[in-house]
């Protein structure tokens, strides 16, 4: 499973990567501290139609998580079904959870730090989806 981590916090990126590896989630993990670079890569990858899981931080300079999702909106139809975006935030604000529901591309919202149960839940969710198709 191709996995992108988008987070400006190097400590957070390293942690998430190691937790995913420890649970055997993926070996193909790319980290982006700059959301714009991640955006370019993700848009280019729409042609390959490979399944991709994105862990997106909200609080980032220059382009925050919401702005990233808005920038991705024009490619929504191509991405749906292949690209599963999970918001991974340290914020506990309920407003963020409510806002995340307005985005079809967002598969879920997880509070940092991600734990093994949440990783397994994502794995199950993805297995069901791919099985259904």
């Amino acid at each position: 499973m191709r996995t992108y981590l988008i987070d400006d916090d190097a400590l957070g990126v390293y942690l998430t990567e190691q937790l995913l590896r420890a649970e055997g989630f993926s070996t193909d993990i790319s980290a982006f501290q700059c959301p714009k670079m991640a955006l370019d890569v993700l848009i280019k990858a729409t042609t390959t139609m490979d399944d991709t899981v994105v862990f997106l931080d909200l609080n980032m300079p220059l382009m925050n998580g919401w702005q990233f999702l808005d920038a991705l909106a024009p490619y929504k139809d191509k991405l749906l079904g292949h690209c599963h975006i999970y918001i991974l935030t340290s914020s506990l604000a309920l407003a963020d959870l409510e806002k995340s529901r307005q985005y079809d591309l967002v598969a879920g919202l997880i509070h940092k730090p991600i734990d093994s149960e949440e990783i397994h839940a994502i794995q199950d969710q993805l297995a069901n989806k791919t099985g259904a198709e």
């Binding site: 400590l11 942690l15 340290s90 914020s91 940092k112 730090p113 991600i114």
Partner: protein, 610 residues
């Protein structure tokens, strides 16, 4: 003794006056009608001669008695136009102890053949009475007419025969006795204004008493006439009370009442005008244009022209406006002015009565209140943002620390990941500590605002001190700082705040310098805008996209550079400190050109070039 014209013309009876030769001096219109002759030619002709020949002998005899000082009453036959008999009453007029003439009244005899004199006096609308003058200054009523009974409410039968001091109560008694005595002593008519409380109510009248002399030349009778003025006086009294009430109302109101005479274009002012605004109201009424000149220039058009428009171009009865009005001391009052326009039958404005109300205090309170509300809203929004951001930023390193603690328990302690994770756990905890000290700084910056007392700060010196500890960094990168703030500049504020402002701005400039050119920082101070002072802080560093981010740069934990470390608190504190000292800060920047911060303080400083 001169006879009052009014006595002649107002009297309901036919009256006349004769001189000592028995010729008419004066007749009233009623008497002339009775004789069937015009009044004017009668003057100068003899009383006896104007009567029918058959009457002349008797008339001559009675006239002679009257001229000798006796009051005479007799019934004559037909006189002039009067078909039936006429009753004449002839009363001698006495001056200086001599008879100077005769006062006469005439009445058709048919009305009262028995007591002609009484009937005659009864016919008079005014109160009439006759007093007998007795010894020891005592006066006895010998006759009162019907008007007397009606006006006083006393039956004539009870009054006639009684002494004055039994009928008239004090304090009137002393007054009338005094006046009677005067008439007796001088043998002249005496008049005065009297108010007395009778059974029928309070009476006000003009009283005249006329002395009658007996054959010995001694005053034996007084004829009194009271012209009732009660209604007139009551009207006057009602008017006085109403005026008094109006005067007190004028005093009690704090408004400036006015009466605009539109034809004369003058304004009559109540006392409030001087009290409220300090303007001398001399002359009063004053010119309309004087009032207009005190209206604030920016509002003259809407207020003065608006009022004239309402008066002349509309049929409106009411006009009201809120405007600024100059006081005598040059300060401005906020007034609420309301007026009522009186119009004539054609709808043309005649007068406007109105009142100016000083609502300055109310206005100021409203402004204070809305400022306070706005400030509270701001603070509330600040607090919400603060709470959100702090919880977010506080939780970020905490979440990492929790994650690393979890990870460490599950991985091989000899692996490289274990060592990295342990280091990262420490780093996360240090971040957490850093955020907590930020929170402490921010909270103490907020707390200090309440107990803040401005002092004159030597800005240039504080700026130099703020450079301490940053000089090494500045020199390492080959940068230069030009502090062009005049040494004499003093701004009211806090030394610590200015220190923090300059320290943060300088360290930001160093942190976000451009790698393609040596850093140049320039700090200047200029006068204005207005009477304030502006401090300009510019650098030639990396800059940022001001169009996109603008003033967001001052928000807490907002960061605009990915590759340089920063917590996003410095500019938040700079802005908080500038605003605590009553200043404003704004920023302009262009990517790869540089950044300029503009700090404006409204306090004036005389030592700066324009």
């Amino acid at each position: 003794m001169p006879l009052a014209s009014a006595f002649f013309e107002q009297d309901a009876a036919a009256v006349f006056a004769l001189n000592q030769d028995g010729a008419f001096q004066r007749v009233n219109a009623r008497f002339a009608t009775l004789l069937g002759q015009p009044a004017a030619p009668l003057t100068g002709t003899g009383f006896v001669q104007c009567l029918p020949a058959t009457e002349q002998t008797r008339a001559q005899q009675h006239l002679a008695r009257a001229l000798a000082g006796e009051a005479v009453c007799y019934e004559a036959g037909a006189a002039g136009a009067a078909a039936s008999g006429v009753v004449f009453m002839l009363v001698p007029l006495v001056a200086d102890g001599r008879v100077s003439g005769v006062y006469g009244t005439a009445l058709p005899a048919a009305i009262s053949p028995e007591h002609p004199a009484d009937v005659m006096l009864d016919a008079i609308a005014d109160v009439a009475f006759v007093l007998a003058v007795e010894a020891k200054g005592r006066y006895r009523f010998t006759f009162v007419n019907k008007a007397f009974e009606k006006a006083t409410g006393l039956p004539g039968a009870k009054v006639v025969g009684s002494y004055v001091h039994d009928i008239i109560p004090e304090p009137s008694l002393s007054l009338v006795l005094d006046k009677y005595q005067q008439a007796v002593n001088t043998a002249e008519r005496v008049s005065w204004l009297e108010t007395s409380d009778c059974p029928a109510g309070r009476r006000v009248g003009e009283v005249s008493v006329m002395p009658l002399l007996d054959s010995a030349g001694k005053c034996s009778q007084l004829v009194g006439v009271v012209h009732n003025m009660t209604e007139l006086k009551e009207g006057e009294e009602a008017l006085r009370v109403s005026n008094e009430r109006y005067q007190y109302a004028l005093k009690a109101t704090t408004d400036a009442l006015y009466d605009w005479n539109i034809a004369a274009d003058t304004l009559y002012w109540g006392e409030g005008f001087a009290t409220l605004f300090g303007h001398q109201v001399v002359p009063n009424p004053g010119r309309f244009s004087t009032w207009a000149s005190y209206v604030h220039d920016s509002e003259k058009k809407s207020v003065v022209d608006g009022l004239r428009h309402a008066a002349f171009q509309t049929q409106d009865a009411f006009w009201q406006h809120e405007y600024r009005f100059r006081r005598a001391d040059g300060s401005w009052a906020c007034v609420f002015d309301r007026g009522y326009i009186l119009r004539d039958a054609q709808g043309q404005p005649v007068r406007m009565i109105g009142a100016m109300q000083d609502i300055t205090e109310r206005k100021e309170a409203e402004i204070r209140q809305s400022l306070m509300a706005a400030k509270l809203m701001d603070q509330n929004a600040d607090l919400q943002q603060f709470a959100y951001i702090v919880s977010h930023n506080l939780r970020a390193p905490l979440a990492n620390a929790l994650g690393y603690a979890d990870l460490l328990s599950r991985i091989d302690r000899h692996a490289e990941v274990f060592d990295n994770s342990l280091q990262n756990l420490h780093a996360s905890l240090r971040q957490l500590d850093g955020i907590l000290s930020d929170v402490n700084n921010i909270l103490s910056a907020r707390d200090k605002q309440t107990g803040y007392r401005p002092e004159p700060v030597a800005v240039a010196a504080v700026c130099r001190q703020a450079l301490f500890g940053l000089e090494e960094l500045l020199h390492e990168c080959g940068g230069e700082l030009h502090n062009e703030i005049p040494e004499t500049l003093r701004l009211p504020g806090s030394r610590a705040y200015f220190h923090s402002i300059f320290h943060n701005l300088i360290s930001n400039a160093i942190k976000y310098r451009s790698d393609s050119r040596p850093l140049l920082i320039r700090i200047q101070a200029v006068a204005g805008p207005g009477s304030g002072t502006t401090i300009l802080f510019s650098d030639n560093g990396m800059g940022f996209d001001a169009e996109q981010f603008g003033q967001e740069i001052f928000q807490l934990y907002r960061r605009f550079h990915k590759h340089r470390p920063g917590r996003g608190i410095g500019l938040f504190l700079v802005k908080a400190h500038v605003e605590s000292m009553g200043g404003q800060i704004s920023v302009s920047s262009r990517v790869n050109e540089g950044t300029r911060f503009t700090l404006f303080f409204s306090a004036p400083n005389a030592n700066l070039p324009d």
